[in-house]
């Protein structure tokens, strides 16, 4: 992993097919917001559930004790299993993470195993440290100081639970449909004015392709303006017709360079 990847928060995955694809790691602040939302859901969910059980208890009379015992067992389960169950069953997402388009994957880039979901979330209490109790010890206000430091300093933005479970939180981008654009048909006479074995440098080639991809997004004047620096060089080098627009020159060169092999 290169230094540039560290700065760009990129997480490269090598597949058994000898290719490499990349995920974008989630940043500490996105994760904080997602996490806060999950904790709010747990808090208000527990509150509503207690209230509902309380109402039932009033109606139930003698069963009050049983209901309370039952409700507290459910509360314990929610507090300790909310994150783990969601992540294990919903492809590494919790409601908070889904809202911020985040997902947990294993360190190898594959979907994580349920055990990994358990590990990273049972150890969450350590990341939460220090926690301050607000009302009795039933509701804890987590500060995530340790988790924050760990995300901040670890290589793949991992909190302590992530490090132990070998998981990474990534941005869950669903790919947008992108059509590859091909420049308009150009007259062959002008095309033939260009030499056959035309070779561009790597930078020029890259500039050319990104221009062709985006040229339709701009007005004609703007297009020429953007094409000018590269087009002027090329016009001088190959002695092209002065009447051609800069935009047209780039289209011609593009077809000459890349179109021939198709």
């Amino acid at each position: 992993m290169s230094e540039a990847n560290t700065i760009d928060t990129v997480f490269d995955v090598h597949t058994p097919e000898y290719t490499e694809f990349r995920y974008y790691r989630a940043g500490v602040f996105e994760r904080m917001f997602a996490c806060a939302i999950d904790h709010l859901i747990i808090f208000f969910g527990s509150l509503i559930m207690l209230f509902a059980f309380g109402l039932l208890g009033v109606l139930g009379g003698d069963l009050m004790g049983l209901l309370l015992s039952g409700s507290i067992l459910i509360l314990v389960a929610i507090a300790w299993l909310y994150f783990a169950v969601f992540e294990a069953l919903w492809g590494g997402r919790t409601p908070g993470k889904a809202l911020f388009k985040l997902r947990v994957v294993s360190g190898e880039g594959t979907p994580m195993h349920p055990t990994q979901a358990l590990i990273r979330n049972l150890l969450r209490v350590v990341d939460m440290m220090p926690s301050v109790s607000l009302v009795g010890s039933l509701s804890l206000m987590p500060f995530y100081a340790l988790g924050f430091l760990s995300v901040f300093f670890s290589r793949h933005n991992q909190r302590l639970g992530d490090l132990a479970a070998n998981t990474v939180v990534i941005k869950d981008r669903t790919a947008r449909e992108r059509t590859v654009k091909v420049p308009p048909v150009v007259e062959s006479a002008q095309l033939n004015a260009l030499p056959k074995g035309l070779v561009l440098s790597r930078e020029q080639g890259r500039a050319l392709t990104s221009f062709i991809q985006r040229r339709e997004d701009f007005s004609e004047l703007r297009r020429d303006e953007m094409a000018m620096p590269l087009a002027q060089q090329l016009r001088k080098r190959y002695g092209l017709d002065e009447s051609l627009s800069f935009d047209m020159i780039l289209c011609l060169v593009y077809v000459r360079v890349f179109g021939a092999s198709s």
Partner: protein, 316 residues
């Protein structure tokens, strides 16, 4: 690769996307073959794309496509029930058998527990120093009424609070082991001292009968659960100190294959204890029944932890 070619390749990308929209379990054999071929060809496209003049946006699209196809293809392993049976009947008992961390954790809990029980039983001032007068009054208050007279509501709320606390303590005992094992040691020692003092104080006081009747049914599972949890925490924490030549983090990750089964056992014990504490201990069931639960659970733990030595699952 040129844009002209890319435009052709796009048809394949679309087909792959369509295949991924379907669930894998609904694939026909043709679908499966098509998927693997398409996936491999998209992998090739991506590796070529990075090498040639392909627009940055398309490269990103390909990255995302390959990532999704990769996940679709490799998927995640799931838990199965046959594995679970093997885990509980063979792997866990073997892990716990003669486990140095289990012995250490048990000692760190039981030694202070027994010493403090004895001290607090003999000397009320010792209990007061450890627990503080406010806590002592609260505990006394809680057990001052018998099970018949105690208002169901107060009893319910009180036990509810303790269940929540106990489960949290036991799981924290494991989790805080991530701090190089030190958190676990602290939780074990602290609870050994604290619970020991409570036991000694209550057993010497006027409500010893109520206290004993309340605690005995879930006691064995709960206290041994803390020890097993402590064993998992120490195994995890010391994996970062004794690395056997791995990096600390890698050693930690590797230890998880032993730690998680222990946690599973601890969680099973603690949740059973919580269940008993919620429904049996505060109930009006006769004390003999609660004593029966205690004996059965204590016997079950002993037999379970000694399964490998009893030769039940000896490999043939």
């Amino acid at each position: 690769m040129t844009l002209y070619k890319l435009a052709e390749r796009q048809k394949d990308w679309h087909r792959l996307e369509q295949l991924m929209a379907k669930r894998r379990s609904t694939y026909s054999s043709n679908d499966a073959i098509a998927f693997t071929q398409l996936y491999r060809s998209v992998c090739t496209d991506l590796s070529l794309a990075s090498a040639y003049h392909v627009p940055e946006e398309t490269v990103q699209y390909l990255h995302e496509l390959v990532a999704r196809a990769h996940n679709h293809f490799y998927g995640a392993q799931k838990w199965t029930f046959t594995n679970l049976r093997l885990l509980f009947l063979q792997k866990i008992p073997r892990l716990m058998d003669k486990n140095i961390y289990f012995r250490l954790a048990s000692a760190m809990f039981w030694v202070p527990f027994l010493i403090c029980t004895a001290l607090a039983y003999v000397d009320p001032i010792f209990a007061e120093r450890v627990l503080g007068p406010i806590t002592m009054a609260q505990i006394n208050e809680m057990y001052s009424d018998g099970f018949e007279q105690r208002s169901v509501f107060a009893g319910g709320a009180g036990t509810s609070f303790y269940i929540y606390n106990n489960v949290s303590i036991a799981l924290q005992c494991f989790a805080s082991g991530l701090l190089l094992g030190m958190g676990t040691i602290y939780v074990l020692l602290f609870n050994g001292i604290y619970l020991g003092s409570v036991f000694g104080f209550m057993l010497s006081g006027p409500h010893a009968h109520h206290f004993g009747e309340f605690v005995m049914a879930h006691g064995p599972l709960e206290l041994m659960g803390i020890c097993v949890s402590g064993c998992a925490g120490m195994r995890m924490g010391f994996a970062m100190l004794i690395t056997h030549g791995e990096t600390r983090i890698r050693s930690l990750q590797k230890s998880m294959s032993e730690v998680m089964p222990m946690v599973l056992l601890a969680a099973t014990m603690i949740s059973s204890a919580a269940f008993i504490e919620g429904f049996v201990s505060p109930s009006e069931l006769p004390a003999t029944f609660k004593a029966g639960v205690m004996v059965v659970s204590a016997a079950a733990i002993t037999v379970y932890l000694n399964l490998p030595r009893l030769g039940v699952n000896r490999e043939s």
